[in-house]
Assembly symmetry: C2
Homo-oligomer: 315 residues x 2
């Protein structure tokens, strides 16, 4: 039976997984990315890792690479990546297929994660599925009629940069009022900090440089401000989700990423905002659920996409 290599190139670590064509993970690991040494160095380090696993290596003939950034999945080209400084206009597919001597596909990491969630996680059994990641940024991947939607260049799915508040807060993309600028980790922290500066009482005041996970924890402990801040984030997220529901009419939207840990404190108000904002009750059977695959989603999805692109990965 053939195996598939999945690679998820992150800003700090590169996650590696060897999977079966059914998506079962046979082995997983992480190695440092060291982005500034360049993509060829990353590919060589992956090749070294593979060579240490001679028996499995022998059975792999295809690999999928997930990577943050604006990626043309068809050409396998990385235009620019916010997480990998200096990686600009990189022929990722060529570099990895040459170095690994494998057939390689390249995909945006959130698209890859969406595909994994669709096949093996929160989107299992659906045909129309959206996966959104909340963290330092906001990303999205769309499954339409059972296929990952890439669009003309493979850039589709940038739901984080959907403007929902013209003249809203500054976004890292240079514009204002993108969904990301309103619900990303820094926006949540800023919302809490601002309220505290305005004199609100909160147990967060005792935590130096609190993070979203602290806000989630204090919410769990009953801190009113923490609960409110997460609820307001959920409400704003819900407006973005409503837009997506009106545009796509999906069956399930899964929410993952670093701040998904705040769980129901965000998702419940998000769902409430969706219900309030939907044009018709007929739409309200959309399910909004946590993503299921965590950190494995991107390498797993990249590998599954590679398997699908081969028709079958068995050989």
């Amino acid at each position: 039976m053939g195996l598939i290599l999945g690679i998820d190139i992150g800003g700090t670590d590169t996650k590696l997984g060897i999977i079966t064509p059914d998506g079962d993970i046979v082995e997983r690991d992480r190695i440092p990315t060291r982005a500034k040494e360049g993509p060829e160095a990353v590919a060589r380090r992956v090749q070294g890792w593979l060579e240490e696993r001679e028996e499995k290596h022998h059975r792999i003939n295809v690999a999928g690479v997930g990577c943050a950034g604006l990626i043309d999945g068809v050409a396998g080209h990385l235009y620019v990546s916010p997480n990998l400084p200096g990686w600009k206009d990189i022929p990722l597919k060529r570099i990895f297929s040459t170095t690994l001597s494998l057939s390689v596909i390249v995909e945006n990491d959130v698209n890859a994660a969406a595909y994994a969630e669709y096949l093996k996680g929160a989107g299992k059994g659906t045909r129309h599925f959206i996966c959104i990641t909340l963290g330092t940024g906001v990303g999205g991947g769309l499954i339409i009629d059972g296929k990952l939607h890439r669009g003309m260049h493979g850039f589709a799915g940038e739901v984080g940069h959907m403007i929902i508040q013209i003249d809203g807060p500054q976004c890292t993309c240079g514009r204002r009022g993108c969904l990301e600028s309103l619900v990303k980790a820094d926006a949540i922290k800023a919302r809490a900090t601002e309220a505290i500066h305005a004199g609100r009482e909160s147990s967060l005041k005792d935590i130096d440089g609190f993070e979203v996970k602290d806000i989630a924890e204090e919410a769990l402990n009953g801190d009113g401000l923490s609960i409110e801040v997460l609820a307001e984030t959920g409400r704003l997220l819900g407006i973005g989700l409503t837009n997506l529901i009106h545009i796509f009419n999906p069956e399930v939207i899964a929410i993952g990423g670093g701040i998904a840990g705040a769980g129901d404190f965000i998702l419940d108000p998000a769902y409430e905002a969706v219900r309030e904002n939907l044009m018709d009750n007929a739409l309200s059977d959309v399910r909004i659920v946590p993503a299921e695959l965590g950190n494995s989603a991107s390498f797993l999805g990249a590998a599954l996409l590679a398997a699908a692109s081969e028709g079958t990965a068995s050989g």
Copy 2:
């Protein structure tokens, strides 16, 4: 050679067309809708129209119905229609297929128009195409990888109710800041009226109860306010289009509908806003163009969808 009947049920008129499987229009007509007599009466009137065309009628074995409203295209069910008072929870497909003794598909009118523009109009030759209609409302239809995207229930494509300005103007849907509330005909007129009340000079002051077509005409005559009002509308439309480009990465977006007559006065600023707001230049080869098929788009698209659903309409 088989023929196909296309039906576009509008608030005032129902447009009818008989087309070839290639989409050539053999005959076209319009009959009054008289919505308050109910959908069965409309179907019977269409049947009467067909019976007067005995030779062609004989060659038709499939019909497509386009209709404004929230429609489940799979079940052929109309949930509710803003243009057809009293039409609520109507099994349109069953009514038309029974009355006409034909195989029938039912689709939202803008989805149908998008499909026609994709096959025979502004979207010809693309795989990823969006069609938007601007008029008393704002509608949209999405072609994804060569297929009309319907979503779980067939409600997809409601781009007019994408919120782009939280707490923006009241929308007819009950919410605030939908794209429609900012760029529909009434919003354009309100923008001009408000400026005039605020003391702005404009040749519009001489036109009692001016319409968008008057604003377009005065813009053509060089009226500064008219030009500004249409440009501001274009800028807001451009923000909505940018969202759609970031989400879908389409090749072409076509703009049709009643106020498309204002043409470049809206489209040029819209395209400028898109270029300003895109995250990356790589996306800027999207084309934003006028729709080409005018009033024929919906009945033609409904007929073409019916033909496609049959596999082939020849018989």
